[in-house]
Subunit: 314 residues, 4 copies
């Protein structure tokens, strides 16, 4: 067994030694639930928080010296302590508190990225009860937030995933390229279904300016996405995507760009002719794989793109 | 390579040959979506249907003769064809149509078990729209149904799973056994959270009697489970479980028994003392594993138990 | 809010009160890793252990009294303490220690069921290294064990799941029933693939008799299942299943019965004719859902069946 | 209902209209299994292929015109047809065939990205059998490949994920920062376990140069990762990561950079003192969440980084 790569590495000329590139570390998926008591009425916030820090971390990679390393365990403790000290007004604000803390309190940390998934809860309305502390998990979708801070500027990317929607008509697909491998027939009436995975980036970057109303903005975006999906007569899922993203950019001035990743959850009309039956757009087989995948960013004119191409990892 | 086990098997005396026991087969997880058009207003039913048939199936196991085998592919086709021919009034009624068909139309099939998972959809209420064909997947829980028919009697077991609920107070845990391995401290105020997995069996078994209102009954049971969870001051999760099941049996005469499997989704109060903070039931760590698991059946007096002990597979 | 169901319940005549049926509780999914040091050579056992206890538990369900309740937390502690005190010779032996402990040490506990999933590890053979403490997770399948004890008799059901196998030829499917909904064509050469999920029950029930060699028996069964799958020319998956189970029963006298649940992981020959290509059993589309599901028990002559019909929950 | 966003959009001045940014589309997760017959000995390749195309796609997003759209269905057909026409020598070569085809055969397609997950299979060695067509799925890890082509240069990023490794000693963690939220104690002997998720980028970009031996290179990298993990005495997971990546870059001249994402799968020493037991590095609790997450890129001197920061989506 060697005693780590240090010795081995330092015996070689620097020009041939492997070079450390982008790196980050932290504690992932701290599941914190914060209860706030307003008399007999309770409120809960339920977040899964992941911390990623980067900065002056050459030594720990090259020699194993932990002198600059704030432990991932301490970052976890900070999440729980801040839930008490600062409360959780919104996922975005909570992430801002955390990111600022890590960058400003640790000299070696130059950048902090906080990712949050928020689980929503509704109250249980028990008929005769005056209890206000009972909850049921709401909806299928998950709210997401990513807050990044480098000591100077903020980047806030909020989002949602797993919002499943379906139009049972109002969608056609025609006029496409026919190459040697094309067998698909054109259709003027199909089911259009997708699982919306979206992230949007806020224009807010500067501490000195007032931050958006994070919760209000999130709810409004969700509404625009749903309504644009419902209102758009669709010639292609690309066009529906652009209508969804475009509506958000047009209606929400606080948002610079939005990216959507829309799997085309195919619903194939079942051929019932072998059984002497006509299938007049009534019976569909909902397929899992393979599926079409349509992805695009829609930007405010003049905005620079900042959301990564791959949303599945955000 | 042998030509199958037949030759080998038949050369041995019958008394030492392995014996075929309970067996069943069919197509699992046929995902059918049925659209019904009521003018511009559409309705959808979204079911995942699994068929399991049993009967006179010795030959196919022992010699590979398929003479008695209705193919699993044909059972799948039947699911789609029946969605057209019979429609889908409810998961239970659809399962009854299927089970009856297999048992009565195939001499070799003596028993059919249909399992269904139903996905719920809400309408998207687009503000200015008159569109009535846009939907969003509703809720986190899944509705389940299992219909079994042997040519004489019906057994219908309906249920739900993945219904996550939480009481942020109104739960204590004290007075338990302290053995050599007990370190847990008593508490008079804890978070109680669980993911309700429940199945209930109907008293209806006889074609000649009118069947229950399946959809109405399911919605009522869901309400009773939620309300009993919210209304019960809890000394233990077992007691809460019994209150939930008991309320269903008391209020719904069509139901003979109900079984609940309730994971205790532990929310541990985080020790903030090392950071000079007091945690007055405000900040919790939501743990994944291990978890307590509490399971029980509650029956109407005189009812014979019929729901399997393990719900995770239903 | 009520103070639990007790008062409410006791005001009603006993004959109409809901009745408590089968019930059990315990800690699920305790993930314990045990390291044993044999000089510089280490050995590891990696188990996920779930405890389910039942007995005299009316009070906790009806009134919330925990006087008979050994906490699920204590059952978890026992798992970890026993890993130290008794070691982990095999999953089955470890489960036997635990089940015996709970039933014999707690008067209110009349039955204990221990479920275990074991993760296998191989050594990493570093070329120049003399290190014997480095491991890599082995294989895709998971070994399972369920040990049940009621103070008198033992029931041990071992098993495996997620063992994926495929024959690229040597399988046909012909001579099946053709009903009104049958469209499948016969084939004399198909891919046969499945994910073996199997459980087998041992004849050993009595403490006074020597227990089987659990590890040796498990490895032998796995081998028989694989070899029977490979050696059997298949006329149907049912016949392959029976050949697999039959071989185990014939070769392993310590086993009374075996149950297999075999999803038919369909590999459909892709129609390449539209592209002017002939597909001579070369290119397959591997489908996910729906899938055929074939399940059966094979018993030693004279054995009483004891394995539940549904393996997915074991 | 509007007739799509076109009319609405074109009535507004261009300067305020939302702008289409990066976009791509294609069929995801085509599961193709290719059987090659070498007499009685069969070979199989089992790939899940995802296609993402981009190019001149403004119209389909803005107006819904599909005139430039090769359907995702046709991209799926191409995957299956190419499995026949070109065979599958390796995941990387297959992806190169596909990417070249889409970019060179469709004027509107300017860039193609092919992602592939490969499932490995071992032969079943049945004792007396001469059958060479029986297989069992091998290992837990998945091989990945991403091939991107823009008509000029190639980018090939290969990788693996879900390779779980563990050192039961030879790891310490000391000398780290202690801030206000640090409670972790130093340790000089801990279990170090992780699930290796890695991607490496090849220097090969030019069709005119011979491509690497893809299969040989992949196997060699896997070996180096395992051996570096086993051979490194670890002062921190960061240092182990750098040793793993560094060894690959040093030994494999065809590779320009490698990125690793290593979750620290915590194994906590269980406190057995309450039970009067000493835990001498013998009994560990394997935790799921939260977990440390250590990520870094290691480059050949002079190489430009090209692998995305987030591997979870690759």
């Amino acid at each position: 067994m060697t005693e780590g790569p240090t010795t081995e590495a330092s015996s070689r000329p620097a020009a041939t030694r492997p070079v450390l590139g982008q790196n980050q570390y932290g504690k992932a998926e701290c599941h914190v639930v914060r209860v706030t008591r307003d008399g007999a009425t309770h409120h809960i916030k339920d977040l899964v928080v992941s911390v990623a820090l980067s900065g002056d971390m050459e030594d720990v990679h090259l020699s194993g010296s932990n002198a600059n390393v704030l432990t991932t365990d301490a970052t976890k403790n900070t999440v729980f302590a801040f839930a008490k000290e600062r409360g959780i007004a919104s996922a975005e604000e909570f992430g801002i508190h955390l990111a600022r803390h890590f960058v400003t309190s640790q000299r070696a940390i130059h950048r902090a990225r906080i990712r949050i998934e928020e689980h929503a809860w509704d109250r249980i309305d028990a008929p005769g009860g005056d209890a206000r502390h009972s909850f049921v998990r709401a909806g299928r979708e998950t709210r997401t937030a990513q807050i990044t801070y480098d000591g100077t500027a903020w980047e806030v990317i909020s989002g949602l995933k797993d919002l499943v929607v379906l139009n049972s008509t109002g969608s056609e697909f025609r006029g496409f390229v026919k190459d040697h491998y094309t067998t698909l027939e054109e259709t003027d009436d199909r089911v259009l279904a997708t699982e919306v995975n979206s992230r949007w980036r806020y224009g807010w970057t500067d501490d000195a300016r007032p931050a958006p109303d994070w919760d209000g903005s999130w709810a409004a975006v969700r509404g625009h996405l749903l309504h644009a999906f419902a209102d758009t007569y669709s010639y292609s899922l690309q066009q529906t995507l652009h209508a969804m993203g475009g509506r958000v950019v047009e209606h929400r001035p606080e948002i610079e760009e939005i990216r959507l990743s829309l799997p085309n959850k195919h619903h194939f009309l079942v051929d019932l002719a072998p059984f002497g039956l006509k299938n007049d757009h009534e019976v569909y087989y909902a397929a899992d794989r393979p599926y079409g995948l349509i992805e695009a960013t829609v930007l405010r004119p003049g905005a620079e793109p900042g959301i990564p191409v791959d949303l599945t990892c955000l």
